[in-house]
């Protein structure tokens, strides 16, 4: 993450503010800044979305392709994540500078989506053992202003909501091999069941308190974050500690509970807007409006 110099006195001010539950921008510890989203931001993809939380700007495009399945799971589709941190977000990401962070995010997402309880990929199977849908999720980070994991996971969920996979008809050819025919009628395209897809909730510890959606200044005051992938039903797909600090078990317990509550609320709020956004999908007004 972009390094921002913050003086010790400013840090003191921020930490005291968190203790008083009044952060620099007037939010309480557990308040998100407003989240903006749109679906269908990239019409060349099967599903796409654009999410902005304050200064964090994420664009996600999903392309569906057909490939051979993983031999460990012959009857399930695959989902693969690629994160591209542009040099717009931080000059440090130029060239290969953003790869490490990108892979960390991609790995965390893959971990959150691995279980079929959260995303059932068996509907993406075309011919068992031979052909399945593979979803290539390309995540582009245009701007960086804190809450990266949260923003990325929201954008991915939105893009999955927007995803439409063309219907296929499989027939057995003369040589006994299956033949695939793609319907070109857009109305037969099918959405993916994403009711249980998790989102990340990141809690950063500032002073003795946990805070969500930290700004960059606040991130400088925190040494340890808990990243929890929370599903809409409140279950956790993955949890990890990030950052250079350590935690007492008691505060960990507190963090997990907070994350669950916030996660459930977040999903509720998101879903409402997804439905609305669906109607407007593709009618973008350009990026920065």
């Amino acid at each position: 993450m972009a390094n921002l110099a913050v003086s010790d006195s400013e840090k003191t001010f921020i930490i005291h503010g968190v203790e008083d539950n009044l952060r620099c921008d007037g939010r309480g510890c557990l308040d998100y800044r407003h989240i903006e989203l749109e679906l269908g931001a990239a019409p060349n993809c099967s599903g796409s979305s654009h999410v902005r939380i304050a200064n964090t700007d994420v664009l996600v495009g999903i392309k569906a392709e057909i490939a051979a399945p993983d031999h460990a799971a012959p009857d399930r589709g695959r989902i693969e994540f690629f994160v591209d941190l542009t040099a717009n977000a931080d000059p440090e990401f130029e060239g290969t500078g953003g790869d490490e962070l990108g892979q960390q995010i991609a790995g965390a997402l893959a971990e959150a989506y691995v279980s079929k309880r959260f995303l059932d990929l068996s509907s993406l199977c075309i011919v068992k053992n031979q052909q399945v849908w593979v979803l290539f999720v390309d995540i582009l980070i245009l701007e960086l202003g804190g809450s990266l994991y949260d923003a990325v996971s929201i954008a991915v969920k939105a893009a999955l909501y927007d995803l439409r996979i063309p219907k296929l008809t499989v027939s057995i050819g003369e040589d006994g091999k299956p033949e695939i025919e793609v319907s070109d009628d857009p109305h037969t395209q099918e959405p993916l069941a994403i009711a249980n897809v998790p989102c990340f909730v990141t809690l950063s510890k500032i002073g003795s308190q946990f805070v969500v959606d930290v700004s960059q200044e606040e991130a400088e005051c925190s040494t340890v974050n808990m990243c929890c992938a929370i599903a809409p039903n409140g279950r956790m797909a993955t949890t990890m500690k990030t950052g250079v600090g350590s935690l007492h078990p008691d505060s960990l317990i507190e963090a997990l509970q907070l994350a669950q509550e916030i996660g459930v609320a977040l999903h509720k709020a998101l879903h409402k807007q997804f439905v609305k956004a669906q109607e407007l999908s593709g009618r973008t007004n350009g990026f920065l409006l």
Partner: protein, 271 residues
Amino acid sequence: MNLGSDRKTRVAASVPYQRFMVRPREPEKEFCKRKDGRRDEELRPRIFESGLVSDASGSGYVEQGSTKVVAAVFGPREVTRRKEFSLKAQLRCVFTFEPFATPGGRQENISLLEQRYSSWLEESLKPVVQLRRYPKASIDIRVTCLENDGGVLAAALTACGIALATSGIETFDLVIGVNLRAHGDRVLMDPSHAEEDAAPSREGTYGNVTLGFMPVLCQITGLLQTGDSEPATLCQQISSLIKIAHGVKPLMEECLIDLGKLQEKLSEVQM
């Protein structure tokens, strides 16, 4: 197909023969008994060793069942690739799987896993080392997994803990890695590779939890949970992992103190 794709989907030139084995998919049996006859909370026999890598400032070797991991600490030394002035030491950790470490064929996306493990270890070790004592220096830790039979990440962290302790680098505490596999209502401590990868139970909690823990300061330095869980369950699991870590600590101390004795003897001989 896939010409000029920038995605790392290489067309595999060879395929591991295991793919063609007619494997009776193990029925989703209830783990009535663990394969090696252990009780659920029982750990596999472990061996801690230090000083295996002679070139390093400190090194640790951990055997956990048949999982084998070597860690070596290099430094603190001058930073070669200076990024910026810093009052703290830079700590870097590189984790690698040997090609023969994993069963089956050579894994294609193993490097992604390695990078993920590297960064997890790095973040779990940073709270342990007193980085402020070594301004402008860099500390490098290389971790190699020789055999993977479950709990690699936990074993690697323990190995790093031993390596750091023997390197003479100032730390706050020992660090111990422990892990478990949740399977429905059952909690299997120190699972084997097969147990880690077992198909999830139909419903209820499942998944792997790995914890890095400093026993004296009672601080969690690293946590990675995967699968499907709930906060309350996870909290319970963490507290049982902490208990296990406390149980492992004497073993680790024994290994470290042994080395101390050895060096004492050595210096006597030299005198």
